[in-house]
């Protein structure tokens, strides 16, 4: 009996590793990699990379490119509805980036060389509803080709960014021409008085601010306090922007701004300036699996010279398992007009000159982006002015096959009732090629 028990024990002893072996035998051929994956990977690397990157480079020297940039060439085709003709413009930009890092100091600069060909003089009146143009001609007769109504695309060299960052243990200083952004919205940022996004191209680079910015970390809210002073002609004309950006629980921003506004009277050509203040808040987080974001801002006129108004935004985004991302954003701006009947020549020209953020009161943005084969992206966006029921559809196809090249093909199909925002230009198309170096 005891020998049987011993035999059983020995069998059990040997059966455990045997079971493990059996388990391995049960593994499908798919489970374990075939061949030598690391040898194969090395062969891929050696045929894909430059020889200078070898293991054991001195750890302190990161071989990052100091000088880089891109050439952006845009071929734009625009259909002018009032003139019933197609206009062509070739807009090019050579951007040179120079970055250098020292121990506690980083320096960043960007210089843009912009040059244009084709239709380079844009008469704003050609894109206005006939009703507005007639009102103007009634005032001034047929000769209203004053410079204030024209925009010339001139070749130019711009120092787009040039700023240094000094990082100390409890404070950082950003000095010079720099990007200053706040807010969580994609197309609009009511809390951001500095940057004015192009609604039809919200991803495009934003102009900088000449400023001195101090950033203090706020560990209690996992964030930081930013205080920026934007330089102007004299100290009292300067703009001030303070915002707390925190990341506790969800991302939220609290913003206070004291900023300049300009208003041009397009009938007399006179410009008046003033100050506004802004108090705002923004957040980004998630509700279950859905990403949500929102912003709200209250703008007041200093010394009651300008009317106060409220603007807010709410949006969501979601990514499906098949790599499709959808997004929606609703924007309300109380300074806009309720319908196209309320649009005036003044509001149109202020809007075109970016003195006024938008024409209408209510807007909706919808988009769906699908990544195809990892190297291309197909998207369809719609921007709808709910106040005047006009819309702009923007199908877009982006090819990112090469590390040095991006190709973007997009068109804009606009429609709406007479006098509405998107009725003046019916269609436009763009081929944008970026060469990176």
């Amino acid at each position: 009996m005891r020998f049987k028990f011993l035999l059983l024990s020995v069998l059990i002893f040997f059966s455990i590793p045997a079971a493990a072996e059996t388990n391995r035998d049960a593994v499908s051929s798919n489970e374990l990699p075939a061949g030598d994956p690391f040898g194969e990977a090395e062969a891929i690397i050696s045929s894909s990379s430059n020889a200078e990157d070898t293991i054991g480079e001195k750890a302190d020297t990161v071989s990052s490119d100091i000088l880089s940039g891109y050439l952006e060439s845009r071929a734009l085709l625009l259909h002018s509805a009032p003139k019933q003709e197609w206009l062509f413009q070739n807009a090019n930009k050579l951007k040179l980036k120079l970055d250098k890092s020292f121990n506690r100091i980083n320096f960043h600069s960007e210089i843009n060389f912009s040059y244009y060909a084709g239709h380079t003089r844009l008469c704003l009146l050609e894109y206005l509803p006939q009703k507005q143009v007639k009102a103007l001609s009634n005032l001034f007769g047929t000769n209203f080709s004053a410079d204030v109504y024209n925009y010339n695309y001139n070749n130019r060299i711009t120092v787009f960014r040039a700023y240094g960052v000094i990082t100390l243990p409890r404070v950082s200083f950003f000095i010079g021409r720099q990007p200053v952004t706040c807010g969580t919205g994609y197309v609009w940022n009511p809390v951001d008085p500095v940057n004015k996004k192009d609604m039809l191209d919200p991803d495009y680079e934003l102009p900088p601010l000449d400023a001195l910015r101090v950033m203090l970390p706020l560990p209690a809210v996992k964030g930081e306090l930013n205080c920026a002073y934007g330089f102007r002609n004299n100290f009292k004309d300067g703009e001030f922007l303070a915002f707390i950006r925190a990341h506790a629980w969800l991302d939220w921003h609290l913003v206070y701004a004291y900023y300049n506004y300009h208003k041009t009277d397009f009938l007399t050509g006179l410009t008046t300036s003033g100050k506004r203040s802004l108090i705002g808040a923004a957040f980004a987080g998630q509700a279950g699996e859905v990403g949500i974001h929102g912003e709200a801002a209250y703008h007041t006129g200093i010394k009651k010279k300008a009317t106060a108004y409220f603007s807010w935004l709410a949006g969501f985004d979601y990514t499906f398992t098949f790599q499709n991302r959808i997004m929606a954003e609703f924007y309300r701006n109380d300074s806009g007009s309720k319908n196209s009947q309320q649009y005036t020549l003044q509001s149109w020209l202020s809007y075109i000159n970016m003195e006024q953020g938008c024409l209408g009161k209510n807007y909706l943005y919808l988009s769906s982006t699908q990544i195809l084969f990892d190297i291309t992206e197909l998207s369809l966006s719609a921007l709808i002015n709910l106040s005047d029921s006009s819309y702009c559809l923007m199908p877009q196809y982006k090819i990112m096959a090469l590390d040095q090249l991006d190709i973007l093909l997009r068109c804009m199909i606009m429609d709406g009732s007479k006098g509405s925002e998107f009725a003046a230009v019916n269609e436009s198309g763009e081929l944008r090629i970026n060469f990176y170096f």
């Binding site: 002893f13 593994v27 891929i44 990157d53 990052s64 940039g69 990892d374």
Partner: protein, 249 residues
């Protein structure tokens, strides 16, 4: 009588010895986390993405990590197209922020978006949380096996939270407790659709560092290779860099 008891005791010992010598799944997972818990580290990687079409992209990435992968900062250095783009991954992948140099904005990546591919590679944002085994997965020891000629523990990991994966099968080195091979399974699938491999392991400052990491997408026939070019252990790494505002610098 004494002989009888001695034999019984011997038999019981024989039965339980393998069980005593083998580690439990919880102990293995704890050892895996300990092996990965590098206090502070800076690495320079070369990343090569090889797509099914044969086209390739080469990136250079600088990474800073703290407490294993609890806090990670990744910054793309090359090519110019993505230079400056950076990711901050906190709480072992629960919170991710991205900074895209083209737009100059820092954006939080929502939970649903973590199934997206990271910069076109075969890694998703979710894959970046691979080291928090105990917190994120329920582990079961399947046995022992050999992978890349190394003795391994074979574990089944079931995500505790909602995940793109239904389960992971992990082969972890018995000596170093580094996961050498991870197979990813979709719900209802018996065959893996993604495969993660780590090799060329070198022990630096008593921590095993994989100098080559491969993520293969077996469905798409694409793969992403991460080759370590530099490793610098930084036990006193500055925690201040692991904040979203640092991404812009």
């Amino acid at each position: 009588m004494k002989v009888k008891y001695a034999l019984k005791l011997f038999s019981i010992l024989i039965i339980f010895t393998p069980a005593l010598s083998a580690l439990s799944s919880a102990a293995i997972v704890a050892r895996m986390e300990k092996a990965a818990a590098v206090p502070g580290c800076r690495m320079l990687y070369r990343q090569v993405i090889k797509r099914a079409s044969g086209s390739r992209s080469v990136f250079k990435i600088e990474s800073f990590t703290m407490n294993g992968n609890e806090k990670q900062l990744l910054r793309y250095l090359h090519p110019a197209k993505v230079k400056g783009t950076a990711f901050l991954i906190l709480n072992s992948g629960d919170d991710i922020w991205a900074y895209f140099s083209a737009t100059g904005r820092v954006r939080r990546i929502a939970r649903h978006a973590r199934r997206q591919k990271m910069m076109g590679s075969d890694f998703t944002y979710e894959d970046m949380s691979m080291t928090a085994f105990k917190e994120k997965y329920k582990a079961e020891l399947l046995g022992e096996d050999k992978v890349f000629a190394k003795a391994c523990y074979k574990l089944k990991l079931i995500p505790k939270e909602r995940s793109s994966y239904a389960k992971l099968i992990v082969w972890t080195d018995k000596k170093l407790f580094v996961p050498l091979l991870v197979n990813y399974y979709a719900a209802g699938e018996k065959t893996a659709y993604k495969q993660f491999m780590q090799g060329k392991i070198k022990v630096i400052n008593s921590y095993p560092v994989a100098r080559m990491v491969i993520m293969k997408n077996l469905e798409d026939n694409s793969q992403t290779i991460m080759q370590v070019l530099q490793v610098e252990m930084k036990p006193n790494i500055n925690e201040d860099m692991f904040v979203p505002s640092y991404l812009k610098r």
